[in-house]
Symmetry: C2
Subunit: 508 residues, 2 copies
Amino acid sequence: MQLNLDRIRNHALRNRIVEPEEAATWISDGMTLGLSGFTRAGDVKAIPAALVKRAEKENFKVNIYTGASMGPDVDKYLTEAGIINKRLPFQAEPVMRKQINQGNMYFTDQHLSQTSEWVRSDVLPSIDYAILEAVSITEDGVIIPSTSVGNSQIFAEKAESIIIEINLAQPEWLEGLHDIYDPGQQGSRKPIPLVHPEDRIGEIGIKVDLDKIKGIVFSNKLDSASTIVPPDEETIIMANHLLTFLREEIKAGRLTEQLAPLQSGIGTVANAVFHGFLDSEFNDLVVYSEVLQDAVFDLMDAGKIKFASGCSITLSEKAMENLLTNFERYVDKLILRPQEISNHPELIRRMGLISINTALEIDIYGNVNSTHVCGTNMMNGIGGSGDFARNARYGIFVTKSIAKDGKISSIVPFVSHVDHTEHDVDVVVTEQGYADLRGLAPRERVGVIIENCAHPMYRKQLWEYYTEALTRGGQTPHLLEKAFSWHTNYQTKGTMLMEEKELAEVEG
Amino acid sequence: MQLNLDRIRNHALRNRIVEPEEAATWISDGMTLGLSGFTRAGDVKAIPAALVKRAEKENFKVNIYTGASMGPDVDKYLTEAGIINKRLPFQAEPVMRKQINQGNMYFTDQHLSQTSEWVRSDVLPSIDYAILEAVSITEDGVIIPSTSVGNSQIFAEKAESIIIEINLAQPEWLEGLHDIYDPGQQGSRKPIPLVHPEDRIGEIGIKVDLDKIKGIVFSNKLDSASTIVPPDEETIIMANHLLTFLREEIKAGRLTEQLAPLQSGIGTVANAVFHGFLDSEFNDLVVYSEVLQDAVFDLMDAGKIKFASGCSITLSEKAMENLLTNFERYVDKLILRPQEISNHPELIRRMGLISINTALEIDIYGNVNSTHVCGTNMMNGIGGSGDFARNARYGIFVTKSIAKDGKISSIVPFVSHVDHTEHDVDVVVTEQGYADLRGLAPRERVGVIIENCAHPMYRKQLWEYYTEALTRGGQTPHLLEKAFSWHTNYQTKGTMLMEEKELAEVEG
């Protein structure tokens, strides 16, 4: 283990340095761990690796609470080692996903702003160890997080003991980037005094009871690189539809050219749509989001974004290299906050965000499924999309209109799982166009969604469903016996597309 | 029309008095009206009646925006007159419901805190006339609302013109009860400075541009009495289950005996469950709710509630009579606020409410349908339940476990419409017991919901569904081809209960 004592500026804490393997022995079967990390950024690395090694010779299981999804060091290897009993509040790891869907581990899927409330008010099983990645510890013992804040503060506050992982690969200039604010217990809270994304309202690091720090280990490994892929032809078209919508809002006098603080969800599509601002006329935009991905830094380079507040920085290898080399260019334009602040309903509503998140499927009435494939298998989790879509001024959902070469339509009669109800979905964007659903009754939404957003190959089939459903009447006409027939067709025949014969029978 | 000029203390406005029939002629086809009123309280009465009369001889349609549901003067008679094109954001009127479900008028079902945002930011068609019931107009021309505040402030601010209905039947002591706060435009907002339900943060009435007041009419008619029915044996048992849950929370150290500010939804069941506090050990509780119903006043009489903040007072005839006679007993213990404040996510989250709302049906994973019968026909609307359940510290849903003598199970495999997702439903209460779902993964929730909340006559059938679904795996195991079979059985055979033979086939 490589050490650098300068990173522990509080001298009294220097005698708590241990090897990761020793710290790992403190953890026993049935314990609950609260780990730093949010969307692969600022994850702890050394102790999870030591736990995996221990698991080779020993049977034990722990609950793992984090900020959001973690890199392979946690979510992949701990899953393969079979030591996770329950995981919350978000994941995006293929190996873990499989175990969850096979019922081999529990996954509690949560709004990312809410985990802290449950921890704070002792609703969840209590945390034995908070294990937190840090850049350094100050003279006063304040812990400086690295590339994410996540739930680290509340984990540190509520855990029985704390283990710090000082990661020498995480640059020291990260100190000063964070703004740590603790809203306190519900019922004795004050208003959160943040009114602009640039506002600093808290401390530069996490203040903890120093007696609780049981050990400090060192690591030296960059965050796992983001897995997003670059924009493609369709996401570029989607971005243009979004820009058209925003221009229409400006024309209608509802937005100025400064728009409103922007949020974009985790993942390839939302990142790609964000990328679309590169070729736009918009300048000096401000971001108030959870994860800051590649697009944010490209947009800063291009003068399109002047400031970004987030909870984590999750980058591709190349973008991370650029940030590490040219950090002076960005450091004054960034703030990292706890996820309960980056995702707080109070702040999202106050500032009136433009919120862009990815949907798995959307139904003809505007309900959104962001999580479950065919209503059953978990993809990643709801993440922050509910925090944002419900409270934003513009709750925008993006998805390609078809998947698997057209075998799946992302626009369906009835979504097989609901994460966002019709009440929270303002605008839908696909490569076909956009549907502005605001103020529309369900029957008014159908045509806008089908004609503007569905793929042409599925439009007739969608109209067939709706036309037959209309004969039953209702605020939201449905044929319950056929509502999921598209999904079951896909499950049994490999496609949602009905043959002409089947369609004729429907018409019959 | 009976006048009382003392109610118009601003002398300059006295020459704007007109007959309701004259004011009604100002309204023309295609206009949008923003009416005062929230859950039958503080509705305008005279001008709607004049509009109904006009409709006897003339064809015209208008959009009607309100606070929430209205009494028959608006929602029933205007519907019967066929003059509503679109209605939002909530209704609870059988005649209107039928027209909505037949597709004869549009209904946009909204979170009650959000209508104001859409009006303020010009998303909805603009309001031609705000028509507002008032108790009086002050010397400065400030409009004093009556038994509700609803969306009156934002309607007055954004409408082209304003018509005031001074209702002589509404008592003058209501002046001073209201606290009108305008959060302002998103993006330039300050934190809302309310930290306790008792806090006063605004004005005693609605300040308007006096030039916009086009007319003042007088009326003299009490609000339509509430239609809730008294607690029955089952709601008393449900209330006891809720109290048991709260006592367990106190035992666990998560609540004190002061509990937390309470919210209870509109309607018989939520009111009845609230009533259960009458025989409890709890005293000096505080309410932060939208509608204040009979139970709140009974609980004040019993010393159980010491203060209540709401958006409206909706009472049975007897309870209203008591309030009018004994108002001194209550007047210092009440505040009425705009619905965007009574239902504001910022405040609900800050204060950490205990929120009790009614469900139509709940599925084995904890998703809640509050609005649509068999996924198709609108009952009332989501109302404020989403504002509260999402942001409250305790999002509690209550329902009887069966309806229609057992032909309907309120616990189903898959709800036929989702208003509240698994992420927002903390606790479910039926007359069978309560299910505490907090922190549980979907597969963990199933047993708790079936065993604690489902009616015994449906438990086996629910387990059958889940057991078969488990063979498919998944985070949320489902059989999409059978997910709505309970509902379609009800539609075709009149009951959700399967015969032993059918069950055997399922098992087969």
